[in-house]
């Protein structure tokens, strides 16, 4: 079935070569919004986000008297347009600045509930998703052609009208010993305290740290789920709740876990590759993406079947490092420069993207910090021909402000202590709770 009427198709694909922004706005945008299912009362032009005006904001009218054009509250989609003469080619600096502009609008106070952002100049179009503080692409920057306009509209509509609630996060560093499991478990715990629905996936069968840590065992094995091509295994039989009573209140805190089983660990990576596609974990998790706010995947070091599957399943990748472990920083660079782009090339939906790295749980002296900065500067310099690592190493760094801020999760001996008690430190200790709250706020919560 065609998504766009014949007349609309001409307007969407037949703009003159040098059409300027105003022409894109009057010729291209109306049929686009119509095809996406928005009527004139659901489109607010020059919407003031509180952080600058975005070209268009969209939201469907609610039952009753809530007309978006009049109330102008809670936009669902922001659309930033450019002229055809303004290149949105993914490599161009103009593309990068347009994405930055869109992100600024999406993170503005008026847009806390906004879910989507779109940039287009009528030659290219790209859609982004906003989940709390995280903004990640959900399509590549697509070239609009007569032959693909229907598919593009269909993709965008499918996302707007049945949005997943879950953000899927892989916790990964090619180097081991950076505290991946501790991060995963405590992040899950703090998000649960904050009333988020969380699923934790242990996809590190050789260590099964997380499964041991939380002391959970499944009815049916993870392996049986991966093997379940005909979808006869109920994923709920594999998911186990992990519950604790919160310290002072009587409140019961629960997050869900997919534990790992020995069956998976007993097979080599090459055997597993003969049984399962890299996309298999993602296919399984798609079944529960409407049931959670966060899906956190603990993955093993080394770029093999398990970690590649975890990164493939993810929207974003959180990379813990240790400032005093140079290999963890070098490997963070490799993950961002090489592994993630490999996955993006196969997935073709713009994901996953790396979140900025952080220094995990070590005491940091000033001289040691200088040494780490020096190494990170060196890694950035060596990689600059392939990729600009600044946004991933120093997220506040700009051409005018050479800010070298890196988020630090402070050292705290008790975090490790609770590992032996098989309880996330966040549930037992106020300081740990504050630390992981700051991690959650740094990356995920708006």
């Amino acid at each position: 079935m065609s998504e766009v009427e014949e007349s609309g198709r001409d307007a969407l694909t037949g703009l003159p070569e040098n059409a300027q922004e105003s022409m894109v706005g009057t010729m291209f945008i109306p049929p686009l919004f119509k095809a996406l299912g928005y009527n004139q009362l659901e489109i607010f032009p020059q919407y003031n986000t509180g952080n600058g005006s975005v070209d268009f904001a969209l939201r469907h009218n609610q039952a009753g008297d809530d007309i978006f054009l009049q109330t102008a509250t809670n936009p669902n989609v922001l659309v930033e347009i450019k002229g055809r003469d303004y290149s949105l080619d993914e490599e161009s600096t103009r593309y990068k600045s347009t994405v930055k502009q869109l992100k600024r609008y999406l993170l503005s106070p008026e847009c806390t509930n906004t879910q989507w952002g779109i940039i287009t100049n009528s030659c290219h179009i790209q859609m982004f998703r906003k989940h709390g503080k995280v903004i990640h692409p959900v399509t590549q920057c697509l070239e609009i052609k007569v032959t693909n306009i229907d598919d593009i509209i269909k993709t965008i509509k499918q996302k707007i009208y049945s949005p997943f609630t879950a953000l899927t996060v892989a916790i990964y560093n090619n180097k081991g010993g950076v505290g991946k499991t501790t991060t995963t478990v405590n992040l899950a715990a703090i998000l649960t305290i904050l009333d988020k629905r969380v699923l934790v996936v242990d996809f590190d069968p050789n260590q099964r740290d997380l499964t041991n840590y939380l002391n959970v065992s499944p009815n049916k094995t993870f392996y049986s789920l991966l093997d379940d091509i005909n979808e006869v295994v109920n994923i709920r039989d594999v998911i186990r709740p992990y519950a604790v009573k919160s310290g002072n209140s009587k409140q019961r805190l629960v997050f869900d876990v997919i534990p790992c089983d020995e069956g998976l660990g007993s097979k080599s990576d090459s055997e597993l590759e003969q049984l399962f596609k890299t996309a298999r974990l993602k296919e399984i998790l798609n079944r529960v993406k409407y049931d959670y706010d966060y899906i956190l995947i603990d993955s093993p070091p080394n770029w093999r079947f398990f970690s590649a599957s975890a990164v493939y399943a993810a929207d974003v990748v959180l990379i813990p490092t240790k400032h005093n472990n140079p290999f963890s920083l070098v490997n963070a660079g490799i993950t961002i420069k090489s592994h993630i782009p490999q996955v993006q090339a196969v997935k073709k939906d713009g994901t996953p993207i790396a979140l900025p790295i952080f220094w995990n749980g070590e005491r940091i002296t000033d001289p040691a910090r200088q040494v780490a900065h020096k190494l990170m500067d060196e890694i950035i310099k060596q990689s600059h021909k392939t990729i600009d690592l600044f946004p991933y190493f120093y997220p506040r760094h700009t051409s005018t402000n050479k800010d070298k801020y890196v988020f630090e999760l402070p050292s705290y001996a008790d975090i490790a202590k609770y590992t032996f008690d098989k309880v996330p430190a966040v549930y037992k200790d106020k300081t740990a709770r504050e630390y992981y709250l700051s991690l959650a706020k740094e990356y995920f919560l708006q």
């Binding site: 091509i229 005909n230 590759e273 003969q274 049984l275 093999r304 590649a308 996955v343 196969v346």
Partner: protein, 224 residues
Amino acid sequence: MKLDTIGNLMLLYMTQISIKESISVPSFLIKAAADRMRKPDARNWVPVIVREVENNKYEVIGNSYVYAVAEEAQLERVWCIIADTSEETENIAKILSSEQTPKINLTSATYDDIKAALQYLIEKPGSELKGVSVQTATARIDEAGDRKYWKNLDPITKLKCGITVAKVKALNEIFYLTPEEPESKSTDLQKMTVPQLKALAKERGIPGYSKKTKAVLIKELSGG
């Protein structure tokens, strides 16, 4: 780490795999082979060639015989090579698993190529071309001066080499054509005299040719 499955050897469930064209192999061969496959630890060391047509659904494009045996033996899973989804790959897989005869390009084929191809076809059991002389047919096809312009195989029926209108279709199994466009006639027309052009126009049935100028004649002859 390779992220897609193209080129991988994978152990797939039989229920994930379908077959587009059924094969015609004597049932004895399938049944007897299936008996060997029913033994514990038996493994199809010759893999089925498949392509992924939709998510987790595969289609056989080569070694259909192995698939038929696996089905007969009621194997739960079968070893497969995952090929890409292009048409060219499908052709190659079929040719290499002897399920399709490779064709040669008759537009540019040499004498030896044509001879070997015809020999294969004529000597095949039950050949429709039985009785056709390989030597005669090869020689006449090879010598046909306009062969590079042939758009189909019909001109062969006029070579008087025993390949009649009824038999010529069989040649499609071994030959294909990529005809060259005949050179533009207009350059030749330029060299012709006016009486020659008029004669040609008469032949082609162009009305009022006798009163037309050279330029008009050339235009109409090359256009028609």
